[in-house]
Amino acid sequence: MTLAPGLYHYLIIAALLFCFGLAAVLTRRNGIAVLMGIELILNAANINFVAFSNYVTHALGGHVFVVFVILLAAIEAAVALAIVFAIYRHFHSVEIPQVHEMQG
């Protein structure tokens, strides 16, 4: 009996990664940790795309999507980190509950 990984293994891994990412986003209070959660969600989607593209459609469409997603993730991280840096200058903290002056 061989244990070759198939489509479902990848899908399960991706779904788990998505749940971990979402959990990080919802529970972590540190701005940087939330950004890490977002990266997990994006990479979960990437695994899905490549797995589907390899096992289902047998075309390169999914791979192309992944290349764009990686690019966009880098851009988004750059922008988000710049903003977190600005937050640190004003609030001397990157803990989200402390950045809360507006409410209503």
Binding site: G31, V34, I38, A45, F68, A80, I83, M102, G104
Partner: protein, 501 residues
């Protein structure tokens, strides 16, 4: 590259002028900023306006040409998309005019500001005509990423930094969740293009449970863009913290782009036929959307009642208007789409008008607290009277534009037998009078502590008068606008039915 590819790209370029002109304007502004040591908001603003006018003209030229798919069906050039491109250009031109006499931004770099704005408009243009999952996601990010930076544009201001942090976190989480949904849609149907996905779904490619999860995940991304409840939490904070002109920018362009995406995505994948559509896929999304619409307008209006900040009040008001517009979306007929487009036109005029008054006034009184508007009638009769017109129009008082827009939406929903939704929306309109009317009452009936006169800059006076007259005009003679939106909506449906063959 095979010759056929080159031919396709060459042909597509002819339909791509609005976006090409925007890209060139982006580069010109960037270079002009580098060359001139002291870039001013006026000169770069004029360049930006010229670029936007050129892009608008190019889009208008396309309106009379044959509708088609370009870049290997990556994008659609149809009247629906061109309608939105015109809306984006007009609203951004107005915003740039507002920017020129805003005091808030003076200390910061003009070139960066205009470049980010043009990039965001380019993203909206692409989003309005995207016909492919990859294009949709990339365009959505191109709208969002410059917006995150724009909301934090006041680098010295704490609230602005907080607004941009909240915006970037909500925004990137939502788009990432949407991407995960798109990956399932791609995997189960094996297609990227909206019409091919629909065919696959009609053949039962996706089990209904998976379909429900997928659509919910994708809805997170679209819902965040239009700020529908329960994805609206970013909206009030971002509106309050961002510079006022940018808040005005967010309130029209990106929301209209979100609606363009919402309509094209759902009518392109989960509906067929036209002018009366049938649901594709084994789940009742119109009912789900009707519930979201009902909750969105109710939450928006009720929470707006006890706001003390003008910007926050306008944020909840914009959420409520998104709820009204979603009424047209759930009806599954072309009448509904027409009334959304018509409402977008009217909302553009009255909402930007209201924001322009707030920008002009708050540059003098340096606060956006609602109590500062007491006695405005004596301090600046013009500002107070035009703000009254816009507030009453947003409420939907007859003879003003807002009433006609709401009337079209309500009638469309009534014809489609969504009686409960119409009644709820009517009740909501009455509730909304409490806070819109409250502003009017403060300005006219109450007396303020400060009594010195406010003089508005000449450009604001002219713009305000034009927008107020336009609001009246749309309320009395709306036929050309209604016909324009009817034409723009009909053509999308034609496209859909052709794609079906």
């Amino acid at each position: 590259m095979p010759p056929s590819v080159i031919v396709e790209i060459k042909n597509s370029m002819g339909y791509f002028y609005p976006e090409l002109i925007l890209s060139v304007t982006f580069l010109i502004v960037l270079i002009a900023e580098i060359i001139s040591k002291r870039s001013s908001y006026i000169t770069l603003g004029v360049i930006t306006i010229l670029g936007l006018l050129a892009s608008m003209f190019a889009a208008y030229q396309l309106y009379s040409m044959e509708q088609t798919y370009i870049f290997f069906r990556m994008m659609t050039v149809d009247h629906f998309a061109i309608f939105f491109k015109l809306v984006f250009a007009v609203s951004t031109i107005l915003i740039v005019l507002f920017t020129m006499n805003s005091n808030e931004l003076k200390r910061y770099d003009a070139g960066e500001y205009y470049c980010l704005m043009i990039a965001s408009v380019l993203g909206m243009n692409l989003l309005a005509s995207a016909n492919n999952l990859l294009m949709i996601w990339l365009a959505l990010e191109l709208v969002s990423i410059p917006s995150y930076l724009l909301s934090g544009f006041l680098k010295e201001d704490r609230l602005s930094a907080e607004a941009s942090l909240k915006f970037v976190l909500y925004g990137s989480v939502s788009t990432a969740i949407m991407l995960f949904g798109l990956s399932y849609l791609y995997g189960f149907t094996g297609a990227y293009e909206l019409s091919s996905i629909r065919e696959a779904i009609m053949n039962g490619a996706i089990p209904s449970g998976v379909l429900l999860i997928t659509v919910s995940l994708i809805l997170v991304g679209i819902g965040y863009k239009i700020a529908a409840v329960p994805f609206h939490f970013w909206c009030p904070d971002v509106y309050q913290g961002s510079p006022l002109v940018i808040t005005a920018f967010f309130s029209i362009g990106p929301k209209a782009a979100g609606f363009a995406l919402l309509i094209r995505f759902f009518y392109g994948i989960f509906a067929k036929g036209g002018p009366n559509f049938e649901v594709v896929g084994n789940f009742n999304w119109p009912m789900m959307m009707a519930l979201i619409s009902a909750v969105t307008m109710t939450v928006g209006n009720v929470v707006a009642l006890w706001q003390t900040s003008m910007k926050r009040m306008m944020a909840y008001s914009s959420i409520a208007h998104v709820g009204y517009m979603m009424m047209g979306f759930v009806l599954l007929n072309s009448e509904g789409i027409q009334s959304i487009l018509f409402y977008v036109l009217i909302y553009l005029v009255m909402n930007l008008g209201a924001f322009l008054v707030v920008i002009a006034v708050s540059s003098k009184i340096d606060s956006d607290n609602l109590s500062e508007y007491r006695g405005l009638m004596l301090r600046s009769p013009l500002a107070a009277s035009v703000l009254t017109v816009f507030m009453l129009s947003l409420t939907g008082i007859p003879s003003l534009g807002g009433f006609v827009g709401k009337f079209y939406l309500f009638m469309a929903a009534w014809h489609a037998k969504f009686y409960w939704l119409v009644i709820l929306a009517a009740v909501n309109s009455v509730v909304s009078f409490a806070y819109y009317g409250g502003v009017v009452k403060r300005m006219i009936l109450e007396e303020g502590t400060v009594k010195d006169k406010i003089t508005l800059p000449r450009i604001s006076t002219v713009l305000l008068t034009v927008l107020a007259i336009l609001t009246f005009f749309m309320g009395l003679y709306w036929l050309p606008f209604a016909e324009f939106s009817q034409q723009s909506a009909n053509m999308l449906l034609e496209r859909v039915s052709i794609a079906l063959k």
